[in-house]
Structures are given as structure tokens and as C-alpha cells.
Amino acid sequence: MEFKSCFDIIGPIMVGPSSSHTAGVVSIGNFIYELLGGPPEYASITLYESFSETHLGHGTDKALVGGMLGMRTNDSNIKSAVEIANKRGFIFDIHLQDYCPYFSHPNTVKVEAGRQGYTMVAGGASLGGGLSKIFLLNGKTVDIPISTNENISKLAQPYMCSLKRQTSLGGSYED
């Protein structure tokens, strides 16, 4: 019973073109934004399966970047998220892979991101209808369902202690 509310089915109000490739991904980006306490300075993004094949057509990259900049699913600026990120000095790169080794679902993404000396790695899946979940966080398997109706800030709060402090060598250790 992953879908819990009528508003998971009728909704979200969102910018197109795809609830799973756009809206659900905005939410995954939002979770990262909230976890880091603001937009990341850099991110390394890996898109798997359906995401890797069709991300350009669906604006999946714009959705994820927009989400990490704090834009919500119905923000018409998502269209220009990549340009906005460039202007703000948010550096990211995108890698494409066929199968996600961590979670079996066609719409999966892994993001390594950092802000103000803290780093994190999150795996997210977009389940359809704008519903998504975080299945991997800083090396641990988790199950954090994200609905666009929820307060994502509240959702991310308990996990903020799992952020890692980056060392000068670029490696990381438990804070």
C-alpha cells in the first residue's frame, strides 16, 4: 500500500511532462536540499535505466537540479533550473548507467552531493504519480517514502545526523 492518499492519485499540481521523471524527481531533489540545509555546492548524479534513456525528454536533470535548489513540483522555474544552477555556481555532472545495483526499479537515481563541508550519498526511486522514496542514504539501506503532499523538511530532519564531514583529502568519515 504505497499510495496512501487520494492526493497521491489526483495530483500533484506540477510542471510537466512526467510525474515519475519530473515531479517525483523534484521531490528526491527536495529531500537532498532539506538534508543539506540548502542547495548543494556540487553534485555527482547517476541516472539508471528508464531515467538514463529518457532524461532529456522528460527534463529529469532539470527536475533533480531544481529540486536540489529548493524548487517545488509546481515551480515554473524548473524549466530553467540548469541555467539557474550555473548562475549560482552549483556544479554538477551526470552519469548514465543501465541498471541500478542498489534497488530494482526502472526510475532510479544516485546523488552524491556536498555543502559547507558536509557530504551525502542518497539513492532515490520515483514510483509513479509523483510518489518517490529514498532507498539508500550514506551507505545504509533506508525506506523513506516521499509524497509531494508531505513536509519534506520534517521528513529529512531525523537523517541530518547521518551527514558526513568531508576531509581535506576529499575522503569522508563519520562525524
Binding site: 499510495f3 511532462p17 525528454g57 527534463g59 509513479g128 504519480g129
Partner: protein, 296 residues
């Protein structure tokens, strides 16, 4: 409180003497702790957004950034107004409203996912056609959204609603089933009839693959939304006439799940097979990827 099958949904309605719409609203009140009024307001905002999207889309002659869609809502709307439309005004208006919504979606315009963005045209198309041709008031259309959401909720939890997971049958198929059931309830049919309509609609879309050209939610998605509105009206008419689905709705949903699970990866929103793999589909893709960053 949760409802796990169409059978349970009908039972619940019959025991309490309520419509599907009322049962869904009660369940949402119980699960969310919010008031009926607050939830109705929230759903009304979604209906209003659907209308705004249609009003904007129906007079928009522009093409999508890819150049493979746009302007058809205007075209169909003019035709419905001028000619005597073969499929009648209900389906005619639903078709133009549906294209208006799906064309906006392709341009990264604001839409309401029902249940997904790829299938966002079916339900608004059907509801605002009823509004125009029947004077069905706004409040009733909001009820229709609750009915549709209940049907979609059962389908989503028993099967899938994303093209990547289950093909287009999961997206336009689910949306069409939801729309068919909503029409039946708005026209005074029983919960059982609404569920039969949903089953009949979903059956006629079983096996439909998700093969978007260049991975864009445009070809064939926009026109499949249009066909969804026509099927929704036909399925609703059949059910209101007393025709039943010989296969119970829950079993149809199970069949959709099984078919989607067996569907090859190339036909589940990867843009590797079907129409995406045609000569023209490939040409569109090549053209897109030559542009820097693909778009705009």
C-alpha cells in the same frame, strides 16, 4: 482505514449507502485527520488548475520545444465548433480539452497528474466536457475527482500507474478506468456500475506499451489521452446500460500487473522500442540530441 480491492470498495459503499466519492472522502478524513471541508478545498484547487490549464492550452498555437507537438487543441476545438462532429459533442469537447492539457504538459506547463502527468489529459477532458454539455456544476466535478481517485488508489496499490513500471496500460489505462467510473457516478450510476465501467475501460487498454518517441511525453502520449476520453465515455455508456464486465475489476487489474511485469524493458518508457524505434521516431531522436543539451 484502507481499502485494498474494488470488491471491498463496493462492499463499503453498499454497507454505508454511500457513493464511491463519499467513501473516499471519509477515508481521507480518517487517515489525514483533516476536515471534509479542507479536503474538498484541496481537491477543488486541483480542479481549478485543470480548468486553467485547459483555458490556456486550448488557444495556444505554439509548438513544444521539440517541435513534434502543439496546436492540435486549437485545431480540434475549431472543428468541434464548426462541423457536425461524428463522435458527438461529449467526446468532441473531451478530445479538445484533453489535447489542451497534454500539449501544455509537453511544454513543461503546469498540470495536475491524474494519476500521472503522461495521462493528465483524460480526466480533465472528460470532466469539463460534462461541465460544458451537461452543466454539471463544479462541486459535482470535485466529487468526480474523489470517485476517480478511489479507483486509481486501488489500481495503484494492486498494480502500477507508471509507464516505466507497467507500460501505457498503467498510465492511460488507469486514467481511462478512473474517468469511466467517475462519469458513471456523476450520471447517477451505482458504485458497482462505476467499477464495471472501470473494468471495461481498463480491459480495452490492456497490453498497451509505453514507447514515447525520443523519450518525450508527446508522441504517441497526447493522442492516447484523447482516445482514453472516447473509451471512458463508451465504457460508461455500456455500464449505465447494464452491461457488466465478465472479468471482475480486481482480476483485470491483476492481469494488467502480470502483462506489465512480462512486458520487455524496451517497451516500458525507455524509448527503445515500438513507435520510438520507427524510422521517423529515430529521426526525431537524432534531431533532438544534435541540439545542445537536447532542448531549447
Amino acid at each position: 482505514m484502507k481499502i485494498e480491492s474494488m470488491k471491498e470498495l463496493i462492499q463499503q459503499c453498499e454497507e454505508e449507502g454511500k457513493t464511491i466519492s463519499e467513501v473516499m472522502l471519509d477515508m481521507e478524513v480518517e487517515n489525514s485527520g483533516k476536515t471534509h471541508e479542507a479536503l474538498i478545498d484541496k481537491m477543488t484547487a486541483r480542479l481549478q488548475q485543470m480548468k486553467d490549464t485547459i483555458d490556456l492550452g486550448i488557444q495556444d498555437p505554439s509548438s513544444s520545444p521539440s517541435g513534434i507537438s502543439g496546436g492540435d487543441a486549437l485545431r480540434v476545438n475549431e472543428y468541434v465548433k464548426k462541423e457536425s462532429i461524428l463522435s458527438g459533442n461529449y467526446i468532441g469537447d473531451a478530445m479538445s480539452f484533453s489535447i489542451a492539457t497534454s500539449e501544455s504538459n509537453a511544454k513543461m506547463g503546469i498540470i495536475v497528474a491524474t494519476p500521472t502527468a503522461g495521462a493528465a489529459g483524460v480526466l480533465p477532458g472528460v470532466l469539463f466536457s460534462l461541465h460544458k454539455n451537461d452543466n454539471t456544476p463544479f462541486e459535482k466535478l470535485v466529487e468526480g475527482l474523489f470517485t476517480a481517485s478511489a479507483l486509481g488508489y486501488v489500481i495503484a496499490n494492486r498494480s502500477f500507474i507508471s509507464g516505466a513500471a507497467g507500460g501505457c496500460q498503467a498510465e492511460v489505462g488507469s486514467a481511462t478506468a478512473m474517468a469511466a467510473g467517475a462519469i458513471v457516478e456523476l450520471k447517477g450510476g451505482s458504485p458497482e456500475q462505476a467499477v464495471h465501467a472501470a473494468a471495461i475501460a481498463l480491459k480495452s487498454l490492456l497490453g498497451l506499451v509505453c514507447d514515447p518517441v525520443a523519450g518525450l511525453v508527446e508522441v504517441p502520449c497526447i493522442k492516447r489521452n484523447v482516445m482514453g476520453t472516447a473509451i471512458a465515455f463508451s465504457a460508461a455508456d455500456l455500464s449505465l446500460a447494464g452491461v457488466k464486465s465478465r472479468i471482475p475489476c480486481d482480476e483485470v487489474i491483476k492481469a494488467m500487473y502480470d502483462i506489465g511485469s512480462e512486458m520487455p524493458r524496451t517497451l516500458k518508457e525507455t524509448a527503445l522500442g515500438g513507435l520510438a524505434a520507427t524510422e521517423t521516431g529515430q529521426q526525431v531522436k537524432e534531431r533532438m540530441f544534435k541540439k545542445k543539451g537536447g532542448f531549447e
